[in-house]
């Protein structure tokens, strides 16, 4: 039972980070109908920038985090302006390929600057685990969970009440109607990309604190695909719920099935879930299926 609880807790924590990264993913999909396959590289870049600021420049963690978020926000704006805006009316495959190309470009850049070896964050959180009943939780996990929850809450409020949030929802709902009501669609797109980049960076910093940073971290960009498919590509609550479900299932598969098949199933398991979901309920738990007119 303790083992089960331990797996559950680590699943919830990893799942919360998935939820955060998936949030950025869904935002972009809602705003511009684009599948952002460069998300993993955004995570990677955020993590590396923060690490460099903390270790090389000796900045305090919170300052470094703030600077990282600023830099990543600018990166998001830049990416939208240079790569995505010229492709505004391009077919789906062009946009997907553009983000794949962007991912390659950023990955190449990261490898050139930071190399391939794993780097570790200095201990920012105390090492002594906190006990809840029988379950041991390391403070990093606890803090990650708290930060993610706070951010998710903040974004929910932002979308619900702020003017920009409402504008973003309007653009996601109907681009032309939003534009005709005087919403500056280009600005909304730019800010969407900036936010997506920022949440990816937060996910990267948290993951980096848990596992250390190396180039394979960008795999999370693909792992969140099952999350958004489960939740529904266009649903923010779906991304959050899906993140937790996939995180927990993946952790359980890693704990219970992996020893039986000799490892590696943990990474593939979410994709098996994807195929099942797509067969049974193609638009996910909360997604909107479309009606089509010719």
């Amino acid at each position: 039972m303790t083992f089960f609880m331990q797996m559950l807790v680590s699943g919830i924590v990893v799942g919360s980070i998935y939820a955060l990264v998936a949030l950025g993913f869904v935002l972009i999909y809602k705003a511009s109908d684009a599948l952002n396959l460069a998300n993993g590289e955004f995570v990677l870049i955020g993590s590396y920038i923060c690490l460099t600021l903390v270790t090389a420049l000796k900045l305090p963690f919170l300052v470094a985090l703030a600077v990282t978020l600023g830099v990543c926000g600018v990166l998001g704006l830049l990416v939208e302006r240079v790569v995505l805006r010229p492709l505004l009316n391009a077919p789906t495959i062009s946009v997907i390929m553009a983000t794949i190309g962007l991912g390659n470009l950023l990955a190449g850049l990261v490898h050139m600057v930071w190399g391939h070896q794993t780097r570790v964050y200095p201990n920012l959180f105390p090492n002594t685990p906190v006990t809840f009943g029988e379950v041991l939780i390391t403070p990093v996990y606890l803090w990650s969970f708290i930060i993610v929850m706070a951010l998710l809450l903040a974004f929910t409020i932002f979308f619900k009440f702020s003017k920009m949030g409402v504008a973003m929802r309007a653009v996601a709902d109907d681009l032309q109607a939003a534009a005709s009501m005087g919403i500056n669609v280009k600005r909304v797109f730019a800010i969407t990309w900036a936010i997506a980049c920022i949440v990816a960076a937060v996910g990267g910093v948290l993951l980096g604190n848990i596992n250390g940073v190396n180039a394979t971290m960008s795999v999370i960009g693909l792992t969140v695909l099952p999350v958004v498919i489960l939740g529904g590509l266009d649903s923010i609550p779906g991304a959050i719920v899906g993140g937790f479900i996939i995180g927990i299932l993946q952790s359980m598969a890693g704990g219970y099935i992996d020893p039986l098949v000799g490892g590696g199933l943990k990474e593939v398991f979410p994709f098996i879930i994807v195929i099942l979901i797509l067969m049974i309920k193609p638009y996910g738990l909360f997604g909107k299926g479309g009606m089509e007119r010719v």
Binding site: L35, A90, L278, V294
Partner: protein
Amino acid sequence: MVSLEKVEWKGCEDVKNPFVMECGNYKTRYEKDMAIFSIKRVKIRMLGLAILAFLFPLLADNYVIGLATLCAIASIGAIGLNILTGFTGQISIGVGAFLGVGGYTSAILTSTLGLSFWVALPVAGLITASVGALFGIPSLRLKGLYLAIATLAAQFIILFVISRWTGLTGGTSGMVLQRPSIGSFSLMSASSYYYLCLIILLFTIVYALNLFRSRTGRAFLAVRDRDVAAEIMGINLFTYKVLSFAISSFFVGIAGALLAHYTMIVSPELYSITVSIQYLAMILVGGLGSILGSILGAIFITLLPVGLGFIMDYLAVYMPDMQNTLAAFQELAFGAAIILFLIFEPGGLAHMWSNIKNYFKVWPFSY
């Protein structure tokens, strides 16, 4: 009154000079419009090109022939993918794994079961086609992005099966293959294997060109342009989407088998998602929905790292530590190439080529 039937517009068909372009559209019959070679001169030019491709190994060294072989194999795979993605509009991010299915099928048939390569090659194509059709079934309900993710899932699942089914595939250590042989003559030399790949590529090209003159090919185009409308016009979406997956995967499987016998080794990491992305890049850079584009794109993407390697060698004289970042630089350039093509030439190399041709059609009197 002269009936249109009797007037045979010849245009500039009588001109003997093989370099003169066709200076207008003079087609008066449907058959002429559907012909692969619009005028005789084009046929002669294409034959000339094919002969050049056959004579080329006599002049080149083994390294260059090796590159040409890789280009030919990649072209077969790219044409296969283009049939699915460019002509039928179904996005697939799982080509890498399908190449793997082809390669591993051939490896198992020849190395484990001891069958001849000439049996294994078509069987590899057929098995890949059936796996492709299996993963194509969701395409009936899924479109665009959802389908892309389903094929991505196929990529991971197939690779997982390959690397864990140790009894059949040798697991992560892979399998060793032999070059094929005709009677006692083994196709061990670079040029003989090049000829094999070139001949199969020619068959692939002819098949693909003819496919899009048939009902099936036109149905694929209709599905791409608007699948709901196509269904209303009497095209069975399920049949044609799955058929497109099968035909496309067949060629990808053939390419996979050829590649496996060329490198003489198969192992799971040779078929990662990077390969899928490279193939997608080929058809995008070359031109979606263009056979010529598939070939040009395959050549471009295959030669890109080689060309960059040359540049890096040149730069290494001035910046010695640049050599360490070669792989990263290639990745960066690859990404940049995709983005630049998408933004500045969405039609790809095939469109560039037709622009050049159009410019010279009425050159130098272009106004």
